[in-house]
Amino acid sequence: MSNTIAQKKGFGATLWDYLTTVDHKKIAIMYLIGGGFFFILGGLEALAIRWQLIVPENDFVSAGFYNEILTMHGTTMIFLAAMPLIFALMNAVLPLQIGARDVAFPFLNSLGFWLFLFGGILLNCSWFLGGAPDAGWTAYAPLSTTSPGHGVDFYILGLQISGAGTLMGGINFLVTVINMRAPGMTYMRMPLFTWASFVTSALILFAFPALTVGLFLLMFDRLFGSVFFDANYGGNSVIWEHLFWIFGHPEVYILILPAFGVFSDVFSTFAKKRLFGYTAMVFATVLIGFLGFMVWAHHMFTVGLGPAANSIFAVATMAIAVPTGIKIFNWLFTLWGGSIRINSAMLWALGFIPSFTIGGMTGVMLAAAAADYQFHDTYFVVAHFHYVIVGGVVFGIFSGLHYWWPKMFGKILDEKLGKITFWTFFVGFHLTFFIQHFLGLMGMPRRYWVYLEDQGLDLGNSISTVGAFFMGVGALVFLYNVIYTSVKGEKVGGDPWDGRTLEWSIPSPPPHYNFAQAPLVRGLDPLWIEKTEGRKGMTPAEPLDDIHMPNNTILPFVMSVGLFIAGFGFIYQAEYTGGFIAMFVGMGITLGAMFTRSVKDDLGHHIHKEDLDKGAGM
């Protein structure tokens, strides 16, 4: 129903539709646009960093500005690019994969998106208001508490607001998976992407509150005169490091696990085989999630926690290599003997295996606490985490986008352009970061603005910079591909890949109620089971009936705008009365919207069964 009408709407009506939507598929598109925008921004910051380092003692940017772009590159890529892009994939397909018409909390889902967006915008406003944060993405105290200007304040408020949104998204997906599965969709029949997103959501729930507290303490110290991290008053800056990494280490698994899920689905679809070792894969996912909370202090080996603490955290860290190794082997065995189709989605997945394995091996090297004293704060660490985050998460996002693009938009991304993107990005990636292992081992420290010539660092840095520009070209080609496909691409049907899971049993893009009738799931890879038994689609588990759907609402947008205004208020309240007023006005708007949400009944609406077939085509 909505699809046919939406195409005839004017710009204003479409905009209003997106501002008020609670449809997880539209929220996915907004996450994709928002995350994509910040990915470009973070990428430009990366190119500026590499341009500064192309030759010794370069003066492309000043030392202070270098600190700002370095901080903003890390913060943007983790919080504003990788996480939202993963949320885009989760929103786009998770409900479809479990045969649900909607998520458990559509309102909260929309609020989560708007909080992320306004948090990200607030953070980036710092560029125009006296300078961006410059204390690194980890914002270690006392560097962050003593950093002059308001840069770090924008970091605190921006991340606090977008972090709240992420937490809501996490709770939403947890409950969606537990309560909204279609008949027959038991836990051990869920696709690996759903499993990985489920575990990720649990990690978000238990990791983000530690960041919330850390940011509050930092905010109190900087803006309200408390002394948590001020040694002159008995404060202790190591508390920040603990809180940050109790959040920060699970955070990297929050990013990588959904990517693992994408690869599992992509491998089994394009090898035309059931995923090898499904049970072990689920077990490994849960185990990685669990161990992810036990290893935060391996970021702090050089702080001086003592040999006992360092040993325990070193062993726990190395233990994570076991479930990860299980996964790598299961993917290889899935490919073994499969009827393999190589397209862009599959290329990213195949490129991931060796890249991520290198990152995993350097991870075990870094886990050896004694050796870490040598590696710590050098480019070896930079190389390591880019191998896992780019080689794992970014490859996973690209793979997932190619794989599910037809489901989201009804068109397959152009294959030729897709392959150009892959090869330029893949070559550029290894060119940029492989050499950084050796720069690090030769003693080049992280975060430095310049290096001296004739220290054996010149050639390596130049190669690294060239590689970064290859990656930039790859990303540009992908952007062109998106535009090219949306203009020239041909419409495809609901199941262009000969898929195995439920999302491929409905039209592309799906009607806004997803499934006219809930499907009956009879095993792992439910659509594939029906296909092997000669049926064209899923057997419905219920008669055709009216469908209950939530109403659109502007309140999530209003709440987020309120916090955005209040964010500025908090930052400027000490200096200007205007800031003080903004603080109260902003919080008033947010609390008022919450009050409205509480007292105004929102019962949703029903789509009558007579109206269903028009848009659905089932």
Binding site: N172, L205, L217, F224, S226, G234, G235, N236
Partner: protein, 207 residues
């Protein structure tokens, strides 16, 4: 359309009205998860407090400041308010709206009394001992942990009062039953956190 809305006002209320609809089930489970996140939040604050509780700058140590009689009264007020909110939920399950409102009202009064005591306590520390948020790392950690809890109490009170006033005329149905239920869950959680504050901050503080 009318047939759909009747679902929320059945002639005979089910035994567990808070979990009778899918929305109710989702709220119930989602709120438990939220409380899981809140647990981590308070655990982080407790960890910070424990790390900094000895970081005093003058005579304002926990031994010199804390007086157990007042804190004991506050504990009793909040524990009792938890019990009265249980009574309220008991009457909700028996579909006795009037009594539910009455017990919720008593819960609110007890919560207000608790907040009053806490404000008095803070006022006392600030004016008689000049022990503030800014005077030492111990001060920052104390006011942040206890203040976060107090803020939760205030939010809980506003929430419960809003629900009571909003639904005063129309009574209980399957749309608002989950709302009352999760508000009471929240209230219990605040109470549990206070038990830990009473033990870790005050009892361990006077030793």
């Amino acid at each position: 359309m009318s047939s759909h809305e009747d679902v929320l006002n059945p002639k005979v209320m089910p035994e567990e009205p808070e979990k009778a609809t899918l929305e109710g089930k989702n709220k119930f489970l989602g709120f438990w998860f939220f409380l899981g996140g809140e647990t981590v939040l308070f655990a982080s604050l407790f960890g910070t407090y424990l790390a900094l509780k000895g970081s005093t700058m003058d005579d304002n140590t926990s031994q010199n400041l804390f007086e157990l009689p007042l804190v004991f009264i506050m504990t009793m007020l909040l524990l009792t308010s938890s019990l009265t909110s249980v009574y309220a939920m008991y009457h909700m399950k028996n579909n006795d709206f009037g009594k539910m409102q009455l017990w919720l009202g008593i819960t609110v009064v007890l919560g207000l009394a608790f907040l009053g005591c806490e404000l008095y306590e803070f006022y006392h520390y600030i004016h008689h001992y000049e022990f503030t948020f800014r005077s030492s790392a111990f001060g920052s950690a104390f006011y942040t942990l206890v203040g976060f809890h107090g803020g939760h109490v205030l939010f809980g009170l506003l929430w419960i009062v809003t629900l009571m006033v909003r639904n005063a005329k129309r009574g209980l149905n399957l749309y608002n039953a989950p709302k009352f239920y999760i508000a009471s869950l929240y209230w219990h959680f605040i109470d549990v956190v206070w038990v830990f504050i009473f033990t870790v901050v005050y009892l361990m503080g006077v030793i």
